[in-house]
């Protein structure tokens, strides 16, 4: 074999002859070969496809989940042609999940909204120009307000938009348009953590940094399938050099449970019993940090008394776990030098989520596992900018983590924004479900939904559809005109998406990251920021937002709003500074930046001072309540819902647009069912089954697997009809929906 034929390994000595080398008969080169040729990409990228060689690169944080990975965008003539994960970023260390890898692909979908659409007399959505759309928006919304009062129009926003856009929307709606009620889809994912933190710590403050995953020796994951939901956080767990104990509390045998050193497959919604029982054991055995408790917390004595009835027997009965397993859990918490407690939707999406989260916070507080490397009571956020929404959406809280009810706060905000203080409402908005109920009660007539898809994602879907169909004027602002919600709208406003606009996201560990405009939005689509400015202008309150000239000027306003707050970011100069520092975690007050306050990975409460006026954290607790809809003779299974795969995002408006991602998950609804249950129902693998609750019925493929316990079934949330089954029950404090437990029956179709 001649050397020219050796395609690979120029620097490797050639060995023996191949069995059938006929060089002259074989085409070693040509257009097809060159189609896949690689060449050095430059910019530290390594080899890239020659056809996609960039002439510049930039970075942007990803727009899916709250991990906040940084992606290298490969640019040609200023436009992103492909991407790869950013190695030099403290979050993802050069990795991304499939959604991130395919983030640009989904921008090219044929169902992008490219022009405003207005429902005509015949009930069809027809393209109109922006001018008509804006005039219609203003005329209809103002008409409703003049007939029913300013509060009769509400908005529902998102955790998927940049902070600057959220802030502009919240300010425009409440201060400019006189809207009182607005909420975000963050109600569906993070509200519980927000309230739990506010009550316990005095501020909505996730205390951790991702380095804690690597520094723990004991990692407790509750209701969190990190492997699929946050693969890049799991990366950090996998890089932990301490051979950590990984304890997973989850009814299902998830990927994460498989990788755990101890899995506690407890009965659904028995978490509080378990954690109170653990607290009792820790107290009984003196496995607590008395010094920390005395110096930095309130309410421990009451808590210690409260947990007394949670005896091992009681916890065994409530959870279905063995006494040994529970004892081992307590022992591991005690044995760990650096114990971190992490929770996600299994805790948040519950009718008693706040108290469950606080039961975990209590465990961290009483063992002194907070404020130190590898510790914490840590809520893992869902959406890319849920944290931005929590601080700056101006819905439940006033801009910048302020309080609508606090006159000083109102004065401060009014002063910074240069608006009349009277324009700031004195109370928080209704929560998401209260806004929807407001439609039913005839109080809400106009609804503006931005960057979210409630017709798919909201609990008890049939009722939700009924409510949306009753709205007199429904405006949906989205990247795609095809979402289940957009299809019900009277007016669709076409929005630019991630990579088509600038702004910042705040990730789970409080890190600001910059996203950039590296793609041209299709047709007449505009960034949400621009749409809000146009609406302000058309509404007649444009002058109020003159200073909101660009996302970055809005960012400067947000900085001012944060001054003196726990989330103070006055020390961040501009986007470039965020970029150059690999993202910046709040707090970052003026003067920060050197020493401990400027470190790239920082955690809160190192000094033991919390945000309550007395600087102490609170022990909060409450008796567990029974499941709102337990299994019954008629509906004998408990339905759990959750994520299907790492390639799917929520209602799939984006992820279903990538052919590669579509190959990575099942193309139809399936239901996981235990082999024992399947046998007794006469269901064989792959049979078509009906899953029915009091509210609806879906048909699904049976996935017979021992990873769900007997008496439970599991359905991923990504198929549009999954929420026909779920039951609209809410946490009384956080108003977060209880997605993860309702009663269903399963029957074989055709049986």
């Amino acid at each position: 074999m001649s050397s020219t034929e050796t395609v690979i390994g120029e620097n490797i000595q050639s060995g023996a002859d191949t069995p059938h080398s006929k060089g002259w008969l074989r085409a070693f080169d040509g257009p097809l070969t060159r189609d896949l040729l690689l060449s050095p990409g430059g910019f530290g990228l390594g080899r890239v496809p020659s056809k996609d060689k960039p002439d510049a690169t930039t970075t942007s944080v990803c727009g899916y989940c709250s991990t906040g990975c940084s992606l290298n965008l490969h640019l040609k003539d200023g436009e992103a042609i492909s991407l790869s994960p950013n190695t030099n970023y403290p979050v993802n260390l050069g990795m991304a999940c499939p959604k991130g890898w395919e983030a640009l692909t989904v921008l090219d979908a044929p169902d992008r909204a490219t022009t405003p659409l207005l429902r005509d007399a015949g009930g069809k959505l027809q393209p109109v120009d922006w001018d008509t759309a804006l005039k219609t928006f203003v005329a209809r919304m103002q008409g409703i307000q003049s007939r029913h009062g300013p509060e009769s129009v509400a908005f529902i926003s998102t955790g998927q938009m940049p902070t600057e856009e959220m802030a502009l929307l919240g300010s425009l709606a409440k201060f400019g348009m006189g809207i009182k009620h607005g909420d975000g889809n963050t109600r569906q994912c993070m509200a519980t953590a927000v309230v739990a933190y506010k009550q316990s710590f005095g501020f909505d403050a996730p205390p951790y940094t991702y380095a804690d995953f690597e520094e723990s020796d004991t990692i407790v994951l509750v209701g969190s399938n990190l492997c699929l939901a946050h693969p890049i956080m799991w990366e950090r767990v996998m890089r932990n050099k301490n051979k950590p104990e990984i304890i997973v509390v989850d009814p299902r045998r998830t990927e994460t449970a498989m990788a755990a050193t101890l899995h506690l497959p407890l009965a659904p919604k028995s978490d509080m019993d378990l954690f109170y029982g653990i607290a009792r054991i820790l107290i009984e055995r003196g496995w607590i940090d008395r010094e920390f408790i005395d110096a930095h917390t309130n309410g421990f004595a009451e808590f210690a008394e409260f947990v007394q009835p949670f005896t091992l027997d009681r916890v065994v009965t409530a959870t279905g776990l063995s006494a040994d397993t529970i004892e081992r859990f307590a022992t591991l918490i005690h044995a760990g030098k650096r114990v971190s407690f992490w929770w996600t939707m299994g805790v948040n999406q519950s009718y008693q989520g706040v108290r469950t989260a606080q039961a975990l916070i209590n465990l961290a507080l009483m063992t002194g596992n907070i404020g130190k490397p590898g510790t914490g009571a840590n809520s893992i956020t869902g959406q890319c900018n849920a944290m931005g929404s929590r601080l700056f959406s101006n819905t439940t809280g006033l801009l910048g983590g302020h309080d609508f009810a606090n006159a000083d706060h109102r004065a401060k905000v009014a002063g910074i924004l240069g608006i009349d203080e009277a324009r700031i409402p004195r109370e928080a908005s209704w929560a998401y479900h209260e806004i929807l109920e407001g439609v039913l009660k005839g109080k809400i007539h106009g609804l503006w939904i931005i960057c979210t898809n409630p017709a798919h994602s909201w609990i008890n879907q049939r009722l939700c559809h009924d409510i949306l169909d009753r709205v007199e004027f429904l405006v949906v602002q989205d990247m795609y005109h095809s979402t289940e919600t957009a299809q019900r709208a009277h007016l669709v406003l076409p929005a630019a998406g991630w990579a088509e606009k600038d702004g910042t996201f705040i990730n789970s560990e409080r890190r600001f990251g910059v996203l950039k405009k590296v793609r041209r939005a299709p047709g007449q689509a505009l960034s949400d920021f621009s749409i809000f400015r146009l609406i302000a202008d058309a509404w007649g309150c444009g002058k109020m937002f003159d200073r909101w000239d660009s996302p970055e000027s809005a960012f400067q306003i947000l900085k001012q709003l944060s001054a003196g707050q726990p989330c103070d970011i006055t020390g961040i100069e501009n986007y470039r500074m965020i970029e150059e520092r690999g993202g910046i975690q709040w707090p970052f007050a003026k003067g920060a930046g050197s020493g401990a306050s400027g470190e790239q990975e920082r955690r809160l409460f190192a000094d033991g001072r919390f945000y309550h006026p007395d600087g102490r954290a609170k022990f909060l607790f409450e008796a567990p309540r029974p499941m709102p809809e337990p299994a019954s003779a008629k509906y004998p299974f408990v339905l759990l819902t959750g994520r299907g795969s790492a390639s799917q995002w929520h209602t799939q408006t984006r992820t279903s647009k990538s052919e590669v991602l579509r190959k990575l998950y099942p193309q139809h609804l399936y239901v996981e069912i235990n082999p024992t249950d399947a046998r007794s129902l006469g269901v064989r693998p792959n049979d078509t089954v009906s899953v029915e609750s009091q509210r609806g019925r879906v048909v699904a493929q049976a996935f017979v697997t021992p990873s769900v316990l007997i008496g439970q079934v599991y359905i991923p949330m990504h198929e549009a009809n999954a929420n026909q089954l779920t039951d609209a029950v809410f946490d009384p404090y956080s108003k977060q929906p209880n997605y993860k437990s309702c009663a269903v029956r399963v029957t074989r179709v055709g049986a």
Binding site: M238, Q556, R576, G582
Partner: protein, 595 residues
């Protein structure tokens, strides 16, 4: 890290107009109260709209974040993957191989998307897959994701099968590489690979596959999947060939994966877990029909038709007078030839790039597909010679009458060899439904069945055009032809029906899967196949037997029944061959949940 630009470019190039400058604030100063442009009040709704729409189309990230970049450094990511690739090339008796640490594979599937993206694959094209195994008990359930790509086998099925030598196994690294410009898109490698590795790209008309990012490895970079696995589950290691062979004896490759003895895959799957015995792929219970390959169906049936016609004709000639032989031979050989040529034409339709069909001879030394093409080519040549001789006399084509028979028998011999090569093409894949005995029996019976049917049609046609001797032969001996057809038909249908006995098995064997497919998703095809077989090979000949002697060969009932016989037999065999392709259970790596 900001926007990074090559040192040689920089602001000059940018000023050259990456995108037009826009009126946005600079990063160098903080905004002040006087931020609002003085002309701001001029903007009414329309001009603000126009400005925002224009702004939306400006891409300014490069200008805002441009920084010089120091080129020539190692790829940034190398600091994470350095330990995941070998530092030196493999020695003699060794090669590169994937190593997958199952304990670290969490099922995120980033490897699939990274491979797609970093290799510049077309929309929807993927070279890596992630499947899932489940098993265990409710007390201790086990689930395991499995990432898989090409196993760069020691004896690659794809390479042996390829008729154009579009594969080569690198003598040093052992990487099995596909030469895209050499491929003519026959897709035989797809059938020959037990792991579904080569993927057909219909747009390009060729197959493409994983080459372990050989170009990256040659330059000290890790393959895309290795670079991109957040959990460092995939690595490139050096394996000893003898060890791979030894390991294949114990069949410890991966639970529920195809037998490693077929191709000796080099990937190592390692795990600290003890897998339960009931560990199965989540798609184990899915039976899905395979691609039917219509050009191949037509090609196989018609080549066997043609070969059968010649063979039955040659056999018949042994029993007949010279007068009858010279009466029958021209028409019979011509029709047999016509179907043979049609078959060969049909086969080229199967190629993604038929203009390179000539390359098929290249792989003669190892590829049964090459051999089939060459042998059937010789068959066609001999058949043309034979048919021409039959029509024009052998003298006219330069052959003496002595060679007359010799050419005839060589046609038969080439035909039989061709059919044998066809059998071997499928037997080589080691799929149970395509095993040598099953496929050989199937193809041999088709050859006989269609040969007899064709012979009947020839005899009838000659009788109709009023050839006295043939008419007498038909009346005297026609019932024998009918009976022969009926016997072969019954034998063949009974043989085909034997597959259904596998339905009784408890274990879902590959043959049971075929039976499940034929009685499940393919049941209509199965019913049609057996109905046509019974009509064409049993009912029609039975009717003809009663008609012979009673009615003239040219009578409508005779013609109609014979036409029905021919069409039903041919259609029945085409359906049989459709099921042959569609109902085969292909071995595969663990997959994902499917319907």
């Amino acid at each position: 890290m900001s926007v990074t630009l090559p040192e040689t470019t920089g602001s000059d190039r940018l000023a050259g107009g990456v995108s037009p400058p826009v009126d946005r604030m600079s990063f160098d100063h903080e905004p002040t109260g006087g931020l609002t442009p003085p002309a701001r009040q001029e903007f009414d709704g329309q001009t603000l709209l126009a400005r925002l729409l224009s702004d939306q189309q400006q891409l300014t990230a490069v200008e805002q974040f441009a920084r010089q970049h120091d080129d020539g450094a190692l790829p940034a990511q190398s600091r994470y993957y350095k330990s995941l690739i070998p530092a030196s090339p493999p020695g003699p008796g060794q090669q590169f191989a994937f190593e997958v640490d199952l304990d670290r594979c969490s099922g995120c599937k980033a490897c699939v998307t990274a491979c797609h993206s970093l290799n510049g694959l077309d929309q929807g094209e993927t070279w890596r897959d992630v499947g899932m195994l489940i098993g265990g008990t409710t007390e201790l359930p086990v689930l395991q994701h499995v990432t898989t790509a090409c196993h760069h086998c020691i004896e690659p099925g794809c390479m042996s099968a390829c008729p154009v030598d579009a594969y080569e196994k690198d003598p040093v690294t052992g990487i099995v590489k596909h030469l895209d410009d050499q491929c003519f898109g026959c897709q035989y490698c797809i059938l020959a690979c037990p792991y579904e590795v080569p993927k057909y790209h219909s747009g390009l008309g060729i197959v493409r596959k994983c080459d372990m990012c050989s170009d990256r490895l040659a330059h000290g970079e890790a393959p895309a999947c290795v670079q991109a696995c957040p959990h460092e589950a995939i690595a490139i290691r050096i394996v000893n060939l003898s060890q791979v062979i030894e390991d294949s004896e114990a069949n410890v490759f991966l639970p529920a994966a195809p037998d490693p003895q077929i191709t000796l895959p080099t990937t190592t799957y390692k795990s600290s877990k003890v897998f339960p015995r009931n560990l199965l792929p989540v798609d184990f219970h899915s039976v899905s029909t395979q691609h039917p390959h219509w050009p191949l169906i037509v090609m196989l049936v018609l080549t066997q038709f043609s070969v059968g016609s010649f063979l039955v004709g040659l056999g018949l000639e042994r029993l007949l007078s010279a007068e009858l032989v010279s009466a029958i031979r021209p028409l019979h050989s011509l029709s047999a030839l016509a179907f043979g040529l049609l078959a060969l034409a049909a086969s080229t339709l199967h190629l993604g790039r038929p203009q390179y069909a000539w390359r098929a001879v290249i792989g003669l030394r190892h590829s049964w597909l090459s051999r089939e093409i060459v042998v059937f080519g010789a068959f066609a040549g001999a058949a043309i010679l034979y048919a021409a001789g039959s029509w024009f006399g052998f003298e006219s084509v330069g052959l003496g009458p002595i060679l007359h028979d010799a050419v005839g028998w060589s046609v038969g011999a080439f035909g039989l060899c061709g059919v044998f090569c066809s059998v071997m093409i499928y037997a080589f894949t080691q799929r149970a439904f395509w095993s040598f005995p099953l496929t050989a029996t199937r193809f041999a019976l088709t050859t006989m069945l269609l040969g007899i049917a064709a012979t009947w049609v020839t005899l009838l046609a000659l009788a109709v055009i009023n050839n006295g001797p043939v008419t007498r032969l038909l009346i005297r001996r026609g019932d024998l032809v009918c009976e022969g057809l009926m016997i072969v038909t019954v034998t063949k249908l009974a043989f085909e029906a034997l597959i259904f006995r596998h339905l009784l098995r408890k274990q879902t064997t590959p043959l049971k899967r075929s039976a499940l497919l034929m009685t499940g998703p393919l049941v209509r095809w199965t019913q049609a196949r057996f109905a046509l077989g019974l009509i064409g090979g049993l009912l029609m000949p039975a009717i003809l037997r009663t008609l012979i002697g009673d009615v003239a060969p040219s009578s409508p009932s005779m013609l109609a029944t014979s036409a029905a016989l021919f069409v039903a037999c041919l259609a029945g065999e085409l359906l049989e061959r459709y099921l042959f392709f569609a109902a085969v259970a292909a071995p595969r790596m663990p997959g994902t949940l499917r319907g």
